[in-house]
């Protein structure tokens, strides 16, 4: 399995594109994307407006440095030579090979209710089990979603959840977004098995801007999983995806994602959920790859009794900076949130937990508990926690705990005295450290995440 995984993440296919935009971002390109997709005029106008916002906003001056990210060198739109199929048989062989090595078709057969696969800028495969289709569940890519559910898009697409005004990369995303996932779960429909989408970048200096829009209607339930990866090249690529989740009254959404971009990808991702009364959002967030990650999944607890649970894990090896954390806005009474975050850094890598809990005046009886831990495997690496609390109401319960430390010599000796090598002992300590997060993942992903981290440790400690 380890070999299979390693191969899956390093393999790259020769470029085979129907269209590759030249380097850099222009109004002409934005128009071209919209035209290629045959979009309604209002979407084009939104894209153009977002481009203006993008051009007017500065690069964030806080957090990891983005000075080596050259936005003029990125290819913003890459159309693979493949159409969106409902059958893996119709997917071109080289692309199918990649997804097969990543274990996607197998997972689909075994444990998933539906699968979407995106290669470069476009979705190349999408399929949903028949029984879910019959219940009215919609699971498709966002381009198709826009065509078939235009009214829902007008209302929910980058409006009340993630606005293009949020920050520079949200605006960039809104200008050049392509592909991604659209899910609508009708009232009181409970989708028992997870749906999954996998996003793969293959080209050098590519940009991927997939959009995920999930609408869980009143009383519905869904678990959606995203996986992402890209092979390694000399020059940087950019991922600026966007995830918007609307959790309506009494609905429950679990969103899990494991991102394993190549080590020169800038992963500047935006994820946000708006949760109505009695709704629950659960975030499971794993960040392993990338050169720099800036990702702060956010829950806006808008209705009474709304709840947000976040568990996150970040792993940073040589040259990597993982800046992640959870943001929660408690806007109403009796809202609650929990955060559990684990960061592992090795060989000069940096992890930092950057989070915010804000409780508004009037959000009485709200509760929040935050725990963020960092483990460093050597003296070269860094782990930081930067949790912020902004509380404007006195009748609330807020707690925060953080433990940051280096792997202990005494712990290693203890385990080695039981016959484990230093490497095995290190792996065991790391797997124990992340266990509270891993045990929340579906089994296959837990196994895969553990294997990935073991591989990373082997590569950096050998």
């Amino acid at each position: 399995m380890a070999d299979r995984i390693q191969q899956a993440y390093t393999m790259r296919n020769p470029e085979n594109l129907k269209f590759k935009s030249p380097e850099g971002l222009t109004e002409e390109l934005v128009r071209r994307i919209s035209k290629d997709k045959n979009e309604p005029e209002w979407m084009l106008q939104r894209r153009l407006k977002s481009l203006e916002i993008f051009n007017s906003k500065p690069i964030p001056a806080w957090g990891p440095s983005l000075k080596d990210l050259n936005l003029d060198k990125i290819h913003y739109y890459l159309r693979p030579n493949a159409k969106n199929s409902k059958s893996w048989k119709e997917v071109p062989k080289d692309i199918y090979g990649t997804f097969e090595k990543l274990g996607i078709p197998e997972a689909e057969r075994k444990a998933l209710g539906g699968v979407g696969a995106q290669y470069e800028s476009e979705t190349i495969y999408h399929n949903l089990k028949k029984d879910l289709e019959k219940k009215g569940v919609v699971f498709t890519d966002c381009d198709t979603g826009l065509k078939e559910y235009e009214e829902l898009f007008k209302r929910y697409f980058m409006t009340t959840c993630v606005s293009p005004n949020l920050h520079k990369f949200a605006a960039l995303h809104a200008a050049v977004w392509s592909g991604g996932t659209f899910i609508y779960v009708p009232k009181n429909v409970k989708v028992e098995i997870p749906l999954q989408a996998y996003f793969r970048m293959n080209a050098q200096k590519g940009g991927q801007f997939e959009h995920t829009l999930i609408i869980a209607d009143e009383g519905s339930e869904i678990h959606y999983i995203e996986g992402c990866s890209a092979p390694q090249y000399q020059e940087s690529s950019l991922h600026a995806g966007c995830v918007e989740i609307h959790v309506l009254k009494n609905a429950r959404v679990r969103y899990s994602s494991i991102e394993n971009w190549s080590k020169n990808t800038y992963n500047l991702n935006t994820k946000r959920a708006v949760v109505e009364e009695n709704g629950i959002i659960e975030w499971v967030n794993g960040n392993l790859g990338s050169h720099t990650t800036m990702l702060y999944p956010c829950s806006v607890l808008k209705g009474k009794n709304a709840k947000s649970d976040y568990i996150g894990i970040a792993y940073a090896g040589r040259g990597q900076y993982q800046d992640t954390g959870c943001k929660v806005y408690h806007l109403e009474k009796n809202t609650s949130s929990t955060v559990l975050s684990k960061g592992v850094s090795v060989d000069g890598g940096v992890t930092s937990y950057r989070g915010l809990v804000q409780i508004n005046s009037g959000a009485v009886n709200s509760k929040s508990s935050v725990r963020c831990d960092g483990l460093m495997l050597d003296n070269k690496s860094k782990a930081m926690t930067l949790p912020a609390m902004d509380v404007h109401e006195s009748q609330v319960e807020v707690s925060h705990e953080a433990v940051v430390g280096k792997i202990g010599e005494e712990d290693l000796f203890y385990l080695m005295s039981r016959g484990l090598s230093e490497m095995e002992a290190t792996k065991l300590i790391v797997s124990g450290f992340i266990e509270p997060v891993v045990k929340e993942l579906p089994l296959e992903y837990a196994v895969e995440l553990n294997k990935l981290i073991e591989l990373e440790i082997e590569n950096s400690i050998c």
Binding site: Y414, S417, R418, G419, L420, L428, S431, E435
Partner: protein, 247 residues
């Protein structure tokens, strides 16, 4: 035929953070024997067992540690464990997120090339029963939040599962109530065999009533200064160490 000597230490000098603790220690341990090591605080007892196990902080500056005739000074702790050396820690480490039974399975696989899951499960069940350890206990994380007694029992469980040749117990009896002490002793006696050797560090003769020593060794200031039969422990309990130091 295995040699009778299981461990032989010659002129051992050990430093901890630049300070010499063991100053030319000689010691021979034999198979089939239970040995007790006693001595005042700071005499170097823990240093000795940690040096035998290969703790990186305990630096051997001179001398030899021969296990089954082979000098093990340059071996890492895991290689020593594979040869059959075990240390029950005075302060077992808490390893969060690693379940006890999963951990025991991992180390069994490491130590036993003919590992079988069925045998392991049977072994774990039997040995847990000896120590009065419940199934639920073995699903908890290794030592995390365990009481002092639970930690020590878990050390003995690890020992029973690993089935080592040389069993070193560093104050395993400290802080145990009488029932736990009896349980731990039962575990040690169950692990003992005619090819094996027990080496107990203790301050009290209490445990030696349940694990009967063939030999009691007294350590003072980095050296073994006296050895005798089990009766020596009774004498120490009455008279303390001063009479030896004066000699």
């Amino acid at each position: 035929m295995k040699s009778k000597k299981i461990l032989e230490i010659k002129n051992l000098h050990v430093e901890v953070e630049g300070k010499e603790i063991l100053k030319g220690l000689n010691l021979t341990l034999e198979r089939g024997k239970i040995n007790a090591l006693m001595g005042p605080n700071g005499s170097g007892k823990s240093t000795l067992v940690n040096a035998i196990m290969g703790h990186p902080k305990y630096i051997v500056t001179k001398g030899q540690i021969l296990f089954e005739g082979e000098d093990i000074i340059n071996l890492s702790p895991d290689k020593r464990a594979k040869k059959g050396i075990f240390l029950s820690f005075q302060y077992p480490r808490e390893i969060s997120g690693v379940g006890v039974s999963k951990f025991l399975k991992t180390i069994s696989k490491k130590l036993n090339p003919e590992f079988s899951l069925t045998d392991f499960k049977k072994n774990l069940k039997e040995n847990s029963e000896i120590l009065g350890i419940s199934k639920e206990m073995n699903e908890r994380y290794l030592n995390a939040g365990f009481s002092g007694g639970e930690k020590k029992k878990n050390e003995i469980l690890q020992m029973l599962i690993m089935n080592p040749q040389l069993m070193m117990l560093d104050e395993t009896d400290s802080g145990l109530d009488v029932d736990s002490l009896k349980t731990v002793a039962k575990g040690v006696n169950a692990a003992m065999g005619k090819d094996k050797c027990v080496f107990i560090i203790t301050h009290y003769k209490r445990i030696l009533e349940y694990v009967k020593p063939d030999k009691v060794l007294i350590m003072i200031n980095g050296k073994i200064v006296l050895s005798g039969s089990g009766k020596l422990a009774d004498e120490l309990e009455k008279k303390g160490y001063e009479w030896i130091e004066e000699d």
